[in-house]
Subunit: 555 residues, 2 copies
C-alpha cells in the first residue's frame, strides 16, 4: 500500500481527544477542521520545559536510498507512548513546492505518519502562505520606496538583497528583472524569488519567542544599502507591525496526530541546507510543556541539521537535548560504501563495512557536543542478519547503543526497543551540550571550528568576495552572531560527489549572506540554490481528485 | 469609533449557532476557529434554490465620496431578518493586497459589518492563497515545459499569455523578465504578475459547479501558441488534477456572521473592472438553498458589476434575481453634479439635480433587463431634508421605490424600510431577466449591445490589434462566449474623467484577452491594470499589533 492509502484507512480521532491527552482544554483550541488545531502561546510553561526530555533525531549523510528520518521520529514517539511515556512529536511543516516536483510528502511514511497527511503536505493551516505574504509585503514596500518622491531612503536598487518568495518549485523565478515598462512599472532592477522555506521571515518565525520578539527581529532585517553605503533595515519602512499582523496566526503551533492517535506539533519549516533546518522554538517549548518527551528532527544529516539545531536554535532558546538518535539504513550505508543504487538489496558486507565511517563521523560529531547517542537502523526487508550483526558489532566497539527500528511496517510497536534505549540514554545525560564554538569567537574562527570538528575538513578557504563581505558584516556589528552554513547535504564536504567519510579536504566559502533579523551569518559553500526547479516529469502530472474528493497520485 | 473598534466590541456567536439558524447541523461544519466555517457543496439543493429570492445590490458610478454598497448589503440582510425574513448575505472575499495600500477593509462598515473582520480582510480561510498557488503551479509547469527535452510542446515563449499572480499591491511585479542566469535558470521571457483577484483561476472558481467542473474548466485555459501557431491549453500539461487538489478546500463557501449574528457566506473575489466581479455561483446557490432571501453584490456600478452578474453569472447558473437595489449617496450624486470633494457636506440642490442622471442611467440599465429596481439612499448626517425630498421626487417620477437606509449607524434597524420595499419589489417580479445580448450574437455585436444599452455609448471602435485578436478568438471557436468588459469603474464611458451621465461617446477597445477556461472574451477598453501598486504612504505603515494580539491602524 502507498502512504496515502495507509493514511486514508485510519480513522482519525477528533483533535479535541488528542489535545485531551495533553490536558489541553477545549477553549485553548482553534480548530482548522476536525483534525487540526492551532494552540495559543500561553501553553508554554518554562518550568515544565526544564523537566522535559528533548530528543533530537538526525541521520547519516542522505543518499538516493533514503533514510526515513521523519518516519523514525514518529515511530519513536509512538513507541515511547506504548511503553508508557508521554511523548510528543514536534517537527517542521513540509514545503508545498517539492510536492509537485519529485520528493513526495514529508509527513513520515508507512505506519509512522502524521495525519491529515494530505492537508499537512498542501496548504495545512496557511502558515507558509502567511510567511510568503509577509516576506513579499516587505519586498513591495522596498520597491515602492525606490520610486518614492517624498520618503525616499536613497536605497541603491543594485544593493537590495531582500528577495520575494513563493512556496513553489519554480526555477524561472530564481533570477528576474522586475519593475519594467516605464514610469508606472517601478524602478527596474535584478532580483529573484526564493522558495518560502528559505525566507528569513521563516527563520525568524522559528527563532522568535513571541509576536513582540518577532516584530523586533523583522525590523532588524538588513535589506540593502543607500547609494552612499549606509545599511538600511526593514524597520525604516515601518513594516514590522503589518508583518506581525500577517503572522498573528502563523506564529501559533499546529496540533495534529500520528496514525496511532498520539499528539504531534508541526510548526515552521526552514530548510537545513540553507537555513537552520528545524521547527520553531515556540513549538519545541510548547511540546516540552506538554509532554515528558519531545521527539524532534533537524533536516538532512548531523553535519547540517544537528549542528545548527544545537549551535543556533538550542543556544538561542536555552535548551539542551537529553539524547540524539542517528538514523541510518543498511541500504544507504552500502551506498556510502560504493555500491550502486540498483544493487542495494543484495547482501554486501564489504560495502557495508566501507560505508560505516559515514555513520561513525556523525556519531563523533554528536559526541563532540557531549551528548549521548543512540543509533537507529531503519529496517528494510532486504537487510540480512549478517549485515545487522556487522552494524551491531561496530556500534558495540564505539560504545553506542543501537536498535533496529521498524516504524514503517509496524508503527510504534516497531520502535519500542529504540524507545527503551532512548529513555536509558536520556537518563544518562549528565549535562547540557557544549557548543562547537563560542559566540565571541571571530566569525572565521567559528566557521573553522564547524568545518574541522563537524565536517572533518582540514581548513576553510574564502574567495576575495567572501572576505570583503565578512569584513562588511563585522563592521556592521554582526561578529557575535552564530553561523548558519549553506552547504550541500549530499556530502560531509562541499563536493556532493564525495560520499562516505571524505578526508583531506577544505571547505570553500564562495560568498556570505546575512540574516540580521533572524540573527545569523550564512557562509555559502559551493553552488547552493534557494529556489528549486521542477523535474522533467513533475509529480503534478500524476495527481488526480475525483468528484468525491478522493485524491490519488499525490504520494 | 472606527470600524475595527465597533467590530471588536461585539461578542461574536459561535459559528455553530449561526449555522443552526440555517438548520445546518454541526457535522457539516469544517471550523476555522470559532467564528469561521467551511460548508460542503452538498448543502446545495436546486429545488430550494428555485424558491429563494435573489436580491442584487449594485450602485451608481463610484466616486471618492464612497457609496457603501457592502454596508448596504449587510444592513439590508439584517433588516430583512428583523422583519421576520430568513435572509443570508452572500458576498465576495476581500483581496489582501489593497489592505496595505489605501483602500482599507471590504467587510462593510459601521454597524453593518461581517465578522471576524480582521481575519476576513487578511488570510481568511486561505482561499486566495490556494488560488494563487494553483495559478502559479500552472505557470511553473509552462516554464518547465519550455525547457523540456523530452515533452516539449513547442510553445513559443513570446506567446505565453498565462501570468503568475500574488495577492499583493506590487507594481514592480507587473512586468518582469523571468528565467534569467543561464541554462539552469530556464528560458528567459517577458511576463508578469496579476493580483490574485484577477486570476482566471479565481474566475473559474466562481463560475464552476463543483470540483469536476472546475477541473474541466481549468484544463481549457488557453496558455499560448506553439511556434507554428497552434493554440495550447492547460490540459496538455496534465495540470488539472493538481490544480483541483490545491483548490479542494477553496471551493467550499465560508460561513461567517454579521455584527447582528445573522449568517453570511463569503466566497471568491474576482474584481469587477477586469473580471466578472461577483462571488461564486456555488455560494449563491448555497445561500439560496438555506435562506428565503439572498442579498448579494456585484462590484462597482451597474454598468460593470450588475451587467456581468446578469449576462455572465446568472445566465451560466440559471439564476434570476427578483429585485435589484441601486445604492446612491447624496454626497456622491452632488459630486457627479460637479461639486468639489471638499464641499460635499454643504446642501446644494442644483449639484444634486445635475448628478441625478447618473442614478437614472443605472436604473434604466437594470430596467433593460426587465427587473424591478429599488433605490437605496445611503444616509449621511450631512444630508438635508430638501436634498432627500429631491431624490424622492425624482424616483417617484421614474416610478421607482426609494428608501433612506442607515445601516452604517443603526445596523439592520436602519434598513427595515428598505427591507420592506425590497420584499414588495421581489413579490412583483413576474419573470426572469432578459439578457442584453444573445450568446449566438457575433462577439462585436454583443459588445455593441452592452456599450449602447448599458453605457449609453454611440458605438464601439476597435484598434487594428483588437480586430486581429477577435478574429483569432472567433477562429478558435470562442464566438459564442459571453463578454466580460474591462473598463474603468469611474465613468459610464471609457474615459474616467467623464462623470455624471456622459453622452455622445464611443467605447474604444484597445485589445482583447480570452479566458477560455472561465468562458468569456475580455475586451479591454483603455488602460486597465491587473496589478495595482502601493501609494506614497502605504497603510501598512500605520498598522500595529501588541503583545496581546490587539490590532490597531488596520481600518
Amino acid at each position: 500500500m502507498t502512504d496515502i492509502e495507509i493514511a486514508q484507512r485510519v480513522t482519525a480521532k477528533h483533535i479535541r481527544e488528542v489535545a485531551a491527552k495533553l490536558e489541553i482544554t477545549e477553549d485553548k483550541l482553534e480548530y482548522y477542521g476536525n483534525e487540526k488545531a492551532k494552540l495559543p502561546l500561553d501553553l508554554i510553561d518554562e518550568e515544565k520545559v526544564d523537566k522535559s526530555n528533548l530528543i533530537l533525531v538526525t541521520a547519516i549523510t542522505p543518499t538516493p536510498a533514503g533514510e526515513g528520518k521523519t518516519t523514525n521520529v514518529i515511530g519513536l514517539s509512538d513507541g515511547l507512548n506504548l511503553i508508557g511515556k508521554k511523548s510528543v512529536v514536534v517537527i517542521r511543516e513540509p514545503s508545498l513546492g517539492p510536492v509537485f516536483g519529485m520528493k513526495g510528502g514529508a509527513a513520515g511514511g508507512g505506519h509512522s505518519q502524521v495525519i491529515p497527511m494530505v492537508d499537512i503536505n498542501l496548504h495545512f493551516t496557511g502558515d507558509f502562505h502567511a510567511i510568503a505574504m509577509a516576506n513579499n509585503l516587505l519586498a513591495a514596500l522596498i520597491d515602492n520606496n525606490l520610486q518614492s518622491k517624498t520618503k525616499n531612503l536613497g536605497i541603491d536598487p543594485r544593493s537590495v538583497i531582500w528577495k520575494r518568495c513563493m512556496d513553489m518549485n519554480d526555477r524561472a523565478l530564481r533570477n528576474i528583472v522586475s519593475g519594467l515598462s516605464g514610469k508606472t512599472g517601478g524602478i527596474p532592477r535584478e532580483t529573484g524569488f526564493n522558495i518560502t522555506a528559505a525566507s528569513e521571515i521563516m527563520a525568524i518565525l522559528c527563532l522568535c519567542k513571541d509576536l513582540n520578539d518577532l516584530q523586533e527581529m523583522c525590523g532588524n532585517i538588513y535589506i540593502g544599502d543607500t547609494f552612499d553605503g549606509r545599511a538600511v533595515y526593514a524597520k525604516e519602512l515601518n513594516s514590522s507591525g503589518a508583518i506581525a499582523v500577517l503572522l498573528k496566526d502563523a506564529i501559533k503551533p499546529n496540533l495534529v496526530q500520528t496514525l496511532e492517535g498520539n499528539p504531534a506539533l508541526i510548526h515552521g519549516g526552514p530548510f537545513a541546507n540553507i537555513a537552520q533546518g528545524t521547527n520553531s522554538i515556540i513549538a519545541t517549548k510548547m511540546g516540552m510543556s506538554l509532554g515528558e518527551y519531545v521527539i524532534t528532527e533537524a533536516g538532512f544529516a548531523a553535519d547540517l541539521g544537528a549542528e545548527k539545531f544545537l549551535n543556533i536554535k538550542c543556544r538561542k532558546a536555552g535548551l539542551s537535548p537529553k539524547a540524539v538518535v542517528v538514523v541510518a539504513t543498511i541500504r544507504a550505508l552500502k551506498y556510502h560504501g560504493g555500491k550502486s543504487l540498483d544493487a542495494l538489496t543484495n547482501e554486501d558486507l564489504e560495502a557495508l563495512e566501507k560505508g560505516m565511517p559515514n555513520l561513525e563521523k556523525h556519531i563523533e560529531s554528536i559526541q563532540s557536543f557531549g551528548l549521548p547517542v543512540v543509533v537507529s537502523v531503519n529496517s528494510f526487508s532486504s537487510d540480512t542478519d549478517a549485515e545487522k550483526q556487522l552494524i551491531f558489532d561496530h556500534c558495540e566497539k564505539l560504545g553506542v547503543p543501537v536498535s533496529i527500528s521498524n516504524g514503517w511496517a509496524e508503527g510504534g510497536a516497531g520502535c519500542t526497543d529504540l524507545a527503551e534505549k532512548v529513555v536509558e540514554a536520556a537518563a544518562s545525560c549528565a549535562s547540557d551540550f557544549t557548543p562547537t564554538y563560542d559566540l565571541k569567537d571571530a566569525p572565521l574562527n567559528k566557521i573553522e571550528k564547524i568545518c574541522k570538528t563537524i565536517y572533518g575538513a582540514d581548513g576553510v578557504e574564502l574567495t576575495a568576495k567572501a572576505k570583503n563581505q565578512l569584513k562588511r558584516f563585522e563592521d556592521l556589528g554582526y561578529g557575535n552572531l552564530p553561523i548558519c552554513m549553506a552547504k550541500t547535504q549530499k556530502s560531509l564536504s562541499d563536493n556532493e560527489k564525495l560520499i562516505g567519510r571524505p578526508k583531506n579536504f577544505d571547505i570553500h566559502i564562495r560568498e556570505f549572506e546575512i540574516a540580521a533579523g533572524a540573527g545569523f551569518i550564512i557562509p555559502i559553500a559551493g553552488n547552493m540554490l534557494r529556489m528549486p526547479g521542477l523535474p522533467a516529469t513533475p509529480s503534478s502530472e500524476r495527481i488526480e481528485i475525483d468528484g468525491e474528493g478522493e485524491i490519488s497520485g499525490l504520494f
